[in-house]
C-alpha cells in the first residue's frame, strides 16, 4: 500500500443562475494520506468538502490537478458513505451490500459485516422500512464490504439523534479497528473528529485551502475517556484561534 496524494491546483464552476460568474471552489490543495490513516476534514459548510470527496471518488473530473492512489494499475476501489444513505430502495439490505461486489461474495463475509452493525435481523428488509440510523449503518457496511483502497465518508452521522449517532459512531470505530482502511471523514463535530481521527485537517471557506493540519496525539486506548478528548479540544481551540470560527 502506498500513500494517497490529492493535489488539486484549481477547481472552478459556474453558478447555475449566473453563467458569467466563475466560482473558485478550490485553489491549491495538497494532501498526502498515509495508508490506514484516519483523516478528518473539518471546515465551514459550503466550503467544498463534498465536492472534494466527489472528485476523489471520480464523480467529478472537471478540475486541474491529480489524485493518485499509489502505483495501482487497475482503477482504485472506493467505498463512499454519502451524506444521505443512497441505498437502492427496491433491493433488500443484503442485496444492497452484495451489489457492490463484482462477483457474488461469500455469504460468511456479508454475515460478519451485518453482525458487526447488528443488522442481521434486518437483512431481508427493504431500506425504506428501516430507521435512518439503520440505513446509515447499511451504507457504512456497504462501503467497508469491498475492502476499498480509500473510504470516503461525508458526515455519515448527520441528522441522527445524539444517542443513535454515538452508537453508530462506536460501531463504525470498532469496524475500522478490525479493518483499518484509509479514511477521509468529513464532519462538523470537533469532538467526534478527535475521538476518531489520527489527523485533523481544517479547511477554509472558498476557495478552499488548508488552514491547519494537526495530528491527534491521544493514544487509541485512551480515547474512551471523554475527559482526554475534551482536554485536547480545549487545547486546540486555545492554540489555534482560527479554528474557533469553523466549529
Amino acid at each position: 500500500m502506498s500513500d494517497i496524494r490529492i493535489n488539486i491546483t484549481n477547481k472552478t464552476y459556474v453558478l447555475a443562475h449566473d453563467t458569467q460568474q466563475i466560482h473558485h471552489a478550490i485553489a491549491g490543495l495538497d494532501i498526502t494520506v498515509h495508508p490506514h490513516q484516519f483523516v478528518c476534514l473539518l471546515g465551514p459548510s459550503g466550503c467544498g468538502k463534498t465536492t472534494l470527496l466527489n472528485m476523489i471518488a471520480g464523480l467529478d473530473s472537471h478540475f486541474d490537478g491529480q489524485i493518485s492512489m499509489g502505483a495501482i494499475e487497475q482503477t482504485p476501489s472506493i467505498g463512499y458513505v454519502f451524506q444521505n444513505p443512497r441505498l437502492l430502495p427496491w433491493r433488500t439490505v443484503r442485496e444492497n451490500i452484495e451489489l457492490v461486489f463484482r462477483s457474488t461474495p461469500p455469504a460468511s463475509l456479508i454475515d460478519n459485516l451485518l453482525d458487526s452493525m447488528q443488522l442481521r435481523d434486518a437483512q431481508h428488509q427493504y431500506p425504506e422500512r428501516l430507521s435512518l440510523g439503520m440505513q446509515r449503518r447499511v451504507a457504512i457496511i456497504r462501503a467497508f464490504a469491498i475492502n476499498p483502497n480509500i473510504l470516503l465518508m461525508d458526515e455519515p452521522f448527520v441528522s441522527l439523534d445524539a444517542p443513535t449517532a454515538r452508537q453508530v459512531r462506536s460501531q463504525l470505530y470498532a469496524l475500522w479497528l478490525k479493518r483499518p482502511h484509509t479514511v477521509l471523514f468529513v464532519t462538523h463535530d470537533l469532538r467526534e473528529a478527535i475521538a476518531l481521527a489520527d489527523r485533523l485537517i481544517f479547511l477554509s471557506g472558498s476557495p478552499m485551502r488548508i488552514l491547519s493540519d494537526i495530528t491527534v496525539p491521544i493514544a487509541r486506548e485512551q480515547r474512551q475517556n471523554e475527559a482526554n478528548i475534551e482536554a485536547f479540544r480545549e487545547q486546540l481551540l486555545q492554540n489555534h484561534p482560527v479554528i474557533r470560527e469553523l466549529i
Partner: protein, 252 residues
C-alpha cells in the same frame, strides 16, 4: 368467514352490474326495436358464436396483432425514450418529430400505411406501432429525465457495470412509467387495431364488427365487443396487477 368477507367486498361491484343489466333489459323492452336486443339475446348469440369457433378465431387474430404491435411499440419506445431522456442534444433535435407524430390522426397513418405498403399484415402492424410509439416515447422520456442522480452517482462511485446499473438502478425507477405506458398503450392500441382491421384486413374483430354493421346485426356486435372488453379486463387482472404488486413490494 373469509369467503363471506370477500363476498361482501365484491357486493357493490356485483350490484352495479346487475343494475346495468336491469336498465338495459327495461330499455330494450320499452323500445322493442331490433337495434337494441335484450341481454338474453346477446348472451345467446355470444354462446353460439363461441361454440361455432368463429368468435374465438377472430378474437385470437386480433389479440395476436395486439401482442405483436404492442411489444414492438414498447421495446422501441423504451429504447428511444431512455435515449432522449438522457441525452439533451438528441432530445432537442427530435422533439419536433415527436410533436408531429403525436398529432397525426390515427386514421391518416393507417391509410398511408395501406397506400404505401399495400393491404398486408405488416402494414397493419406498422400502422399500429407508428400510432402508439410517440406516446410510449413521451412517457418513458419523462421517466428517464427524472432518474435519481444520487443513486446514479452511488452506482458510478462503486463502479457498477453498465448492465448492473441498468437492471438495479435505472430499470426499477423506470417501472412506474413503463406501467403507465403499458396501460394507456393497451387502451389505445386495441381501439386502433379495430380500425386497422376494418379498413384493410379480412379477419379479426374490426373486420367482423364492420360486417355486423352492414347487416345491422346489433346482437352480434354487442356480443363481440363484450368478449373483447372481458379479455382486456383479464389481461389487466392476470398480468398487469400482479406485475405492479411484485415491483412495488419495497414501498412503505
Amino acid at each position: 368467514m373469509q369467503a363471506v368477507r370477500a363476498f361482501r367486498n365484491q357486493l357493490p361491484a356485483i350490484l352495479s352490474i346487475i343494475l346495468l343489466l336491469a336498465i338495459w333489459q327495461s330499455l330494450s323492452l320499452a323500445l322493442a326495436s331490433p337495434t337494441l336486443p335484450p341481454p338474453a339475446d346477446v348472451a345467446e348469440v355470444f354462446w353460439q358464436a363461441t361454440i361455432s369457433g368463429e368468435l374465438p378465431y377472430h378474437l385470437g387474430v386480433t389479440l395476436l396483432r395486439l401482442v405483436v404491435s404492442f411489444s414492438l411499440a414498447m421495446l422501441l419506445g423504451c429504447a428511444i425514450g431512455i435515449a432522449l431522456g438522457k441525452n439533451k442534444t438528441l432530445d432537442a433535435f427530435f422533439d419536433n418529430w415527436l410533436v408531429i407524430f403525436l398529432n397525426i390522426p390515427a386514421l391518416v397513418t393507417i391509410i398511408l400505411c395501406y397506400v404505401w405498403f399495400g393491404l398486408v399484415e405488416s402494414a397493419a402492424i406498422l400502422a399500429v406501432v407508428v400510432n402508439k410509439l410517440p406516446n410510449v416515447i413521451v412517457t418513458i422520456r419523462e421517466g428517464a429525465r427524472s432518474l435519481d442522480k444520487d443513486l446514479l452517482e452511488m452506482a458510478q462511485s462503486y463502479r457498477f457495470s453498465k448492465r448492473k446499473s441498468f437492471f438495479h438502478v435505472v430499470w426499477p425507477q423506470m417501472h412506474p412509467f413503463v406501467m403507465a405506458a403499458t396501460r394507456s398503450g393497451l387502451a389505445l392500441i386495441w381501439k386502433i387495431i379495430l380500425v386497422v382491421e376494418l379498413l384493410g384486413r379480412s379477419n379479426g374483430m374490426g373486420y367482423q364488427l364492420h360486417l355486423f354493421f352492414q347487416l345491422f346485426d346489433v346482437a352480434s356486435l354487442l356480443a363481440y365487443s363484450f368478449a373483447f372488453v372481458a379479455v382486456i379486463q383479464l389481461i389487466e387482472m392476470l398480468v398487469l396487477k400482479p406485475l405492479d404488486r411484485a415491483s412495488q413490494r419495497w414501498r412503505r
